[in-house]
């Protein structure tokens, strides 16, 4: 019976299923994430340092890397500033339409990137909605680095808002009142008391937005113009090299991107004030609870002109970057009439794309659901060594570019890949076929369900399970009758977000799909093909289906948050 606590892998517990859950979670992560990533690093290693370095510092690569990281840093900074203003306005002020606006902040999480890309292009192209107004002033947005910036602001917008919002909601009014009684003016209170308290959340949101922006592919390539040395981002260069069968170059660029990203994230992690904990980076809740108007007294709010200005800034920013692109999708879809619209979405290739998209999601989402449950069970119900490592590993795909997610499977399963000859001799096709598309989709959506379940199950603890066990329930009975019902809404929440990303994934799928019309084209890829054929109305028609999916996702998400806030996650409760 005696156990040596220091040496045991895990603290003894009566809760069953540790081995099964941890074993499954680790095997899954190993097969989907770690081994493929290792394959890329291995491939890069075979280049030798000199070979690797030559590729990375070649002018075209260097220009692409510089463009990617500089535009991402600028976009994340802009998002940090406007994110704080938006979070402030949403938490502190009341105005008509506030709840709707709050719900729309998550649009970039739900809208497929390819759809965002073509919509932003329609707005900012020289003949576009806003572009045509800017052109006479000599300002060109689309097909320049400025266009890249616009796309990156769009996709990174929710991060800072959603990390700052809960902190601001928790911030005690009494502290502000105390500052006021001590003689601080309102601006002094904000600058010296409130903003410092927000810094860790701002940095976390900044880091997440940055990681996302650096790897972004789908929304950028439509608006960037993709001119080498000018507006060609690093993920695109990887795709171009792959299409030229330049596996060594693609691998070197991918590895360099990974290294720089991890370096940047580590740096931000280390400069976080208030100690270095993995909690700040990993336990980020991207969704706060909306609570009824937070009316401050005179002391703890701003004078009305300031309020009006801040609300104005937030509303205009959100309208410009979120509502306008969404509107553009539907307007462009119906530009040549309803008949063309229905023809476009009922044409055989479009239907095939819809079917493939549904099929891929139907495999990827349940797989990640089972993984999420297993990982959350191990992490939340047990104390064991390496737990924070596992926790960090789950988030890893969030900081890997989707293009790299595709690349690693090509390096592993492609004709030139490590397993290529074996697969070919056995007539098994993974890349450029359904299995590859599914794998790449699973990779990018691995964290979604687990991320929702882990904090909630950690907060719920093990008491309910212990009660059920002591009443005679078996392990599986406990799981199905007690644990699962306790997390059902959070589970649905995670599944909805996972599904949105799975159906909308572009970069990773694009690399492994092969773009065979009617066979390996998912809906986002079909949008791209139609768009590149200048069949804009049809592209927007198919895109509008994806936009509807995004709206449905947001609706379910907001409904869950409003009705079951207390059962979704600890960080969302008030």
């Amino acid at each position: 019976m005696a156990t040596v606590n220091g040496l045991a892998l895990k603290r003894p517990s009566v809760i069953p299923g540790f081995g099964l859950a941890l074993g499954f979670a680790l095997t899954y992560l190993g097969l989907i994430v770690l081994i493929p990533l290792a394959a890329m690093v291995l491939k890069a290693a075979t280049l030798g340092f000199a070979g690797f370095w030559d590729i990375v510092v070649s002018p075209r690569t260097l220009a692409a890397l510089r463009l990617s990281f500089v535009t991402s840093l600028v976009a994340a900074s802009i998002n940090a500033i406007f994110g704080v203003i938006i979070a402030w306005v949403l938490v502190r002020y009341d105005f008509p339409g506030k709840r709707l606006l709050d719900a729309f902040v998550d649009l970039p999480f739900a809208l497929p990137t390819a759809v965002a890309g073509i919509a932003l292009t329609a707005i900012y192209a020289p003949n576009g909605w806003i572009g045509s107004w800017l052109a006479p002033l000599g300002i060109k947005v689309a097909y320049t680095p400025l266009g890249i910036l616009v796309a990156l602001i769009f996709i990174g917008l929710p991060f800072v808002v959603r990390t700052v919002q809960p902190v601001l909601e928790e911030f005690s009014r009494e502290i502000e009142e105390a500052a006021a009684t001590l003689g601080a003016r309102r601006d002094q209170t904000i600058v010296r008391i409130i903003l410092p308290a927000l810094v860790p959340a701002i940095l976390t949101g900044f880091a997440l937005a940055l990681a996302r922006a650096v790897g972004e592919y789908g929304s950028v390539i439509f608006i960037a113009g993709n001119i080498p040395y000018v507006s060609e981002i690093a993920p695109l260069l990887i795709v171009i090299r792959l299409e030229e069968f330049g596996y060594a170059e693609a691998t070197a660029i991918g590895t360099a991107m990974l290294l720089i990203s991890f370096g940047l994230l580590l740096f931000i992690h280390l400069v976080q004030p208030g100690g270095v904990g993995d909690s700040a980076m990993t336990d980020v809740s991207l969704t706060p609870v909306l609570r009824p108007g937070n009316h401050g007294t005179e002391v703890t709010t701003e004078r009305w002109p300031v309020r009006a200005l801040l609300i104005g800034v937030a509303v205009v920013f959100l309208a410009l970057f979120l509502l306008l692109p969404l509107a553009a999708v539907f307007v462009e879809a119906f530009r040549v009439g309803a008949t063309a619209y229905f023809d476009a979405i009922t044409e055989p290739d479009a239907l095939a794309a819809v079917r493939l998209t549904l099929l891929v999601a139907a495999i990827a989402v349940p797989a990640n659901l089972v993984f999420g449950l297993a990982a959350a069970w191990a992490i939340a119900k047990f104390e064991f060594r390496g737990k924070s490592f596992l926790n960090a590993l789950i988030d890893l795909p969030f900081s890997v570019s989707p293009v790299i997610a595709g690349l690693i499977y090509v390096l592993l399963f492609g004709a030139q890949g490590y397993l290529g000859p074996y697969l070919q001799s056995h007539d098994i096709q993974i890349v450029f076929a359904l299995p590859g598309i599914v794998l790449a989709t699973i990779f990018v959506t691995v964290p979604f369900v687990a991320r929702e379940l882990v904090p909630l199950m950690q907060e719920q603890g093990t008491q309910d399970e212990e009660a059920a066990l002591s009443l005679g329930a078996s392990g599986w009975q406990t799981f199905f009758k007690v644990t699962l019902p306790n997390v059902r809404w959070a589970l649905l929440y995670g599944v909805v977000l996972c599904n949105a990303r799975a159906m909308g994934e572009f970069g990773a799928v694009s690399v492994v799909s092969g773009h065979i019309r009617g066979r390996t084209n998912t809906m986002p890829l079909h949008v791209e093909i139609l768009y590149n054929e200048y069949n804009f109305a049809a592209a927007f028609a198919v895109a509008s289906l994806l936009a509807l999916l995004a709206l449905l996702t947001l609706t379910i998400k907001v409904t869950l948050e409003w009705r079951y806030a207390d059962q979704i996650a600890a960080t969302r409760r008030h």
Binding site: M1, Q463, E466, A467, L471, G472, P485
Partner: protein
């Protein structure tokens, strides 16, 4: 005690439903149980005999190891070493499920998504088919238990729609539903307000007398333990200080810890010499029979003192503070050369005030060294 236990056992509801021998209340024997967490020990070799059918309190300050011991009994935790026997069978080799103990958690751990009725019926619902009562039988028994805990009519509610005291009783009924061999309650009234606590105490005693389960309840409230338990186990820092009836514990505490933890107390440094007790240079008029000479500490209770007119053989001090205390008055005295503080309780009509001189002799007291 045994006669009482078997008498009440006859009225047990489990006699109607179950006929399995193992449902009968059991003796619980804890032998030299040690439990360490990392380098710190939560239990340092605890041994205890709990008799079938008795209501026993584990009493001790926060962190003394009460919950740890309870969880070991329940099978939710495993001792680092030592044995636990139910009757004479090894309990540690039984899983939680097999152990068949009813555990009422400190925070109740009610299943949020189930109604009151479903919560109470859960333990029967999850039995293997061969031992599972029919659906209607489960419902009948759950309703019967809800009646026992006086919650009839609330069976369709969810836990969040109940008051704290009601939740407590649902948790209790749920634990009773599995016809437990031992009933374990962790701070059962800890989260409730004073009035509800007193009502539920009486109610628990009544239920226990009707059902006759071997019941162990944890509390840090000495008043609760004294009022409710047949016997009290005083725990301190993972060790048992004393086991006894409430009277034994209160009237004959065997250590300074028990004396000061149970009821209020004051203490003074004294010397014993030749069968006499000395405080500073005064010989106190306290009979000590078989105490060897040496230094010691005198423990006394504020309400167990008598004011004496003759101050030569008494503890004499000057009043430094007066407080109202229920129907009487508390006087804080500074006594002796070092102005030791003691508290004494006198009738509210006492005319002494700050600065007055008072001489007292304890009526009940103990000297520990």
């Amino acid at each position: 005690m045994d006669a009482w236990a078997s008498k009440t056992f006859d009225q047990s509801p489990r006699q109607r439903g179950g006929d399995r021998h193992e449902d009968a209340p059991v003796d619980v024997t804890v032998e030299n149980v040690i439990r360490t967490f990392g380098t710190t020990a939560a239990l340092h070799g605890v041994s205890l005999d709990i008799r079938a059918g008795e209501l026993i309190a584990l009493l001790g300050p926060s962190g003394s190891g009460k919950t740890t011991l309870l969880r070991i009994l329940a099978g939710l935790d495993v001792p680092t070493s030592g044995r636990v026997l139910f009757d004479s069978a090894d309990a540690l080799s039984l899983t939680v499920q097999e152990r068949n103990v009813g555990l009422v958690f400190q925070s109740y751990a009610l299943f949020r998504h189930m109604t009151v009725l479903e919560n109470v019926g859960f333990g029967l619902q999850v039995r293997p088919r061969s031992r599972r009562p029919s659906r209607s039988e489960i419902k009948r028994r759950a309703l019967e238990l809800l009646d026992l805990v006086q919650l009839s009519g609330l069976e369709k509610r969810y836990p969040t729609q109940l008051s704290g005291g009601q939740r407590q009783r649902v948790a209790f009924a749920r634990a009773l539903a599995i016809e437990p061999r031992v009933l374990l309650l962790d701070e059962p009234f800890g989260a409730l307000d004073a009035k509800v606590r007193r009502d539920l105490r009486r109610w628990l005693r009544e239920i226990h007398d009707r059902t006759g389960h071997t019941t162990v309840f944890v509390t840090h409230d000495q008043e609760e333990a004294l009022e409710l338990a047949d016997r009290i186990v005083v725990l301190n820092n993972g060790r048992i200080e004393q086991v006894g009836t409430p009277d034994e514990i209160y009237d004959a505490p065997n250590s300074p810890f028990v004396f000061s933890f149970i009821g209020e107390s004051s203490t003074l440094p004294v010397r014993v010499k030749g069968g006499k007790v000395w405080f500073d240079d005064r010989r106190l008029d306290l009979p000590v029979r078989d105490l060897a000479d040496g230094q010691g500490r005198l423990f006394l209770r504020p309400h167990d003192v008598e004011v004496v007119a003759d101050d030569r053989d008494a503890i004499t001090g000057v009043v430094t503070a007066v407080r109202r205390h229920g129907g009487s008055r508390r006087f804080e005295l500074g006594v002796g050369e070092t102005q030791e503080r003691i508290e004494v309780e006198l009738p509210s009509l006492a005319e002494q005030t700050v600065g007055s001189k008072i001489s007292v002799l304890p009526q009940r007291w103990r000297i520990y060294r």
